[in-house]
């Protein structure tokens, strides 16, 4: 069972604001999903390596060159708040 305190802790980590009703609901929803997922406990995975990449590709690299992105203005337009062409963030002090 995921307690409402745990839900609050997870919501803070996930940066999702929740009201009291939602906290209650998540406590129930997460618990039932985790109970269902618990079926994996019966699988014996001793000595089994985890899958990192499903088709087994590795070490894909490209030249580490400088390229220009020509759509800067379009990105600036997407900023919720901007100043002098910069993204304005909230005060951190």
């Amino acid at each position: 069972m995921i307690s409402t305190d745990e839900v609050k802790h997870i919501a803070a980590l996930a940066r999702i604001g929740l009201n009291e009703k939602e906290i209650e609901k998540f406590s129930h929803d997460l618990s039932s999903t985790l109970d269902w997922i618990a079926q994996l406990e019966e699988v014996d995975v001793a000595g089994v390596l985890p899958t990192a990449h499903i088709t087994g590709m590795g070490n894909i690299s490209r030249e580490d060159g400088v390229t220009d992105f020509f759509e800067k203005e379009k990105i600036v337009k997407l900023f919720p708040e901007s100043k002098n062409g910069y993204d304005k963030v909230k005060s951190v002090l």
Partner: protein, 485 residues
């Protein structure tokens, strides 16, 4: 269908512009009821079409897809076009660049009619999680079109597009294809670049076509497949023409079936699948029983891996860089954080009001599973089970060339039927999800229709092939299609 329209274009029976306009007429007439499209790109489409007409007028050769109108799922970026992923958090997002698949389709002259509805960030099996409304099934407007690529499926099924692109993370192309009576192809993980697709679960996501015929799917795949330096997971590819593999010849091919998959179906669904099996026997294929003992854990494995990757990928929506930014000026009850208050409140509020319930549920689940102390029990465990499921497939493929299953357990369900119970909704993907877990290519093909709740509805079967062997599943799908004509 694409080939016939191509012939009409080069024989000047119709112009590409008129063809596009015809499709906009159908959209105008039908989409009020169906709601396949979120955004229409009429100006862009007509501009693209006129370019094709100019080429034809100059006597230049055109590609098969050139001038053929299609629809694009709204989690794929087209530069300058609103791209929402059906989420309020991206309600005002105008994509600043093209996805690689869009670039490639533009290179071959395809025409884009608009952007289609989906479950928010492609999480769902019915489009009921869209922030903008549900897409109805053209075969029965009281039923879902499937999901998450439900808008793409409904658009093609209703004649509102010739072809469409979808994305598939656990069945999101194949299940709507099955529900709407279409062909839907999820290519091998890595076959198609995901650059410019809004990331959901990166170890599972693929882009693929939804079409009326297998040949059409092969034509669209040929245009979009191939390596891309912008997606490091994309695989080497030699510019294949997948339509060339559709020979109709499947004599001696070994098709695997899993007994439990068929036994667990309802009577009418079982009848449909058995009829498909009979057809393949008549065509000269050999049907072989195979065992995939770990595949029953695919769904649970998915619901660890997918939420974990979602929680990481969707961390970018913070109300600071782009998208919805909210600060409701109320102090949150989640005090525990050492971040400056105003910054934290903007994060919390933007994500509270911007994300829908299902997306929040998956982010929460993934955050829980990845939080301190739980990694080994959940994510690591799931990735180990994933290895075992993959090994089952490697074993099976020593003995058979491909595996046949139903695409979904039932035909399209009613709107509202499963929205209250997330687990019931997740079960709609029980057969399709394994192909994403193991990375193999899989196609849904319309099988015999099924009597279901007093209606006759489309019902698809699924063929899963070996890694990077799209040719084989396309060939076998096509052989069924022509046998049934």
């Amino acid at each position: 269908m694409i080939r016939e329209l191509h012939e009409k274009l080069i024989n000047k029976e119709i112009t590409a512009e008129q063809l596009a306009l015809n499709y906009f007429d159908v959209i105008e007439k039908k989409d009020k009821d169906i709601f396949a499209y979120l955004t229409l790109t009429k100006e862009l489409a007509l501009e693209q079409a006129r370019k094709v007409d100019a080429k034809i007028a100059r006597g230049e050769k055109i590609e098969l897809l050139e001038g053929i109108p299609g629809a694009i799922k709204d989690n794929l970026c087209i530069a300058g076009v609103r791209t929402t992923a059906s989420s309020k958090i991206l309600d005002n997002y105008i994509a600043p660049y093209d996805a690689t698949v869009i670039e490639r389709l533009e290179e071959v002259g395809a025409v884009f009619l608009g952007k289609t509805n989906l479950d928010e960030f492609a999480m769902g099996s019915s489009t009921e999680n869209s922030a903008y409304g549900v897409t109805k099934n053209p075969h029965d407007l009281t039923r879902v079109s499937g999901g998450s690529s439900g808008g793409s499926a409904a658009a093609v099924a209703a004649g509102e597009a010739v072809w469409a692109l979808g994305t598939d993370t656990g069945g999101s192309i194949r299940e709507p294809a099955s529900f709407c009576g279409l062909v839907g192809l999820k290519p091998t993980y890595g076959r198609v670049s995901r650059y410019g697709a809004i990331a959901m679960a990166s170890s599972l996501d693929q882009i693929g076509p939804l079409t009326k015929t297998v040949e059409d799917a092969a034509i669209v795949l040929s245009a979009i497949a191939g390596q891309d330096k912008m997606d490091a997971t994309s695989a080497h590819s030699s510019g294949k023409d997948y339509a060339k593999c559709l020979t109709g010849e499947i004599q001696g091919l070994r098709i695997g079936i899993v007994k439990e998959h068929i036994d667990g179906l309802g009577e009418d669904e079982k009848k449909s699948i058995l009829e498909v099996i009979e057809t393949y026997k008549k065509l000269g294929a050999e049907i072989v029983e195979v065992e995939l003992p770990h595949s029953k854990y695919s769904l649970a494995t998915y619901y660890i891996i997918q939420p974990c990757e979602v929680s990481s990928n969707l961390a970018r929506y913070d109300g600071i860089k782009y998208g919805l930014s909210v600060n409701d000026e109320k102090e949150s009850n989640l005090a525990e954080s050492n971040l400056p208050k105003k910054l934290l409140e903007t994060y919390l509020d933007s994500r509270q009001y911007g994300f829908g319930k299902e997306v929040q549920r998956r982010i929460m689940l993934g955050t829980y599973a990845l939080s301190s102390g739980y990694y080994d029990a959940y994510y690591l465990k799931a990735q180990k089970v994933r290895t075992l499921i993959k090994k089952d497939f490697e074993e099976a493929f020593k003995n058979v060339d491909l595996i046949l299953t139903p695409t979904a357990p039932t035909p399209a369900f009613k709107i509202g039927e499963k929205t209250e119970d997330p687990l019931q909704m997740y079960l709609a993907d029980m057969f399709s999800i394994t192909a994403n877990i193991v990375g193999v290519p899989a196609i849904s093909v319309p099988g015999p229709e099924v009597a279901f709740e007093g209606k006759t509805l489309p019902f698809g079967f699924q063929l899963m092939g070996k890694w990077f062997d799209e040719e084989n599943i396309l060939r076998v799908a096509h052989a069924y299609e022509i046998a049934k004509k």
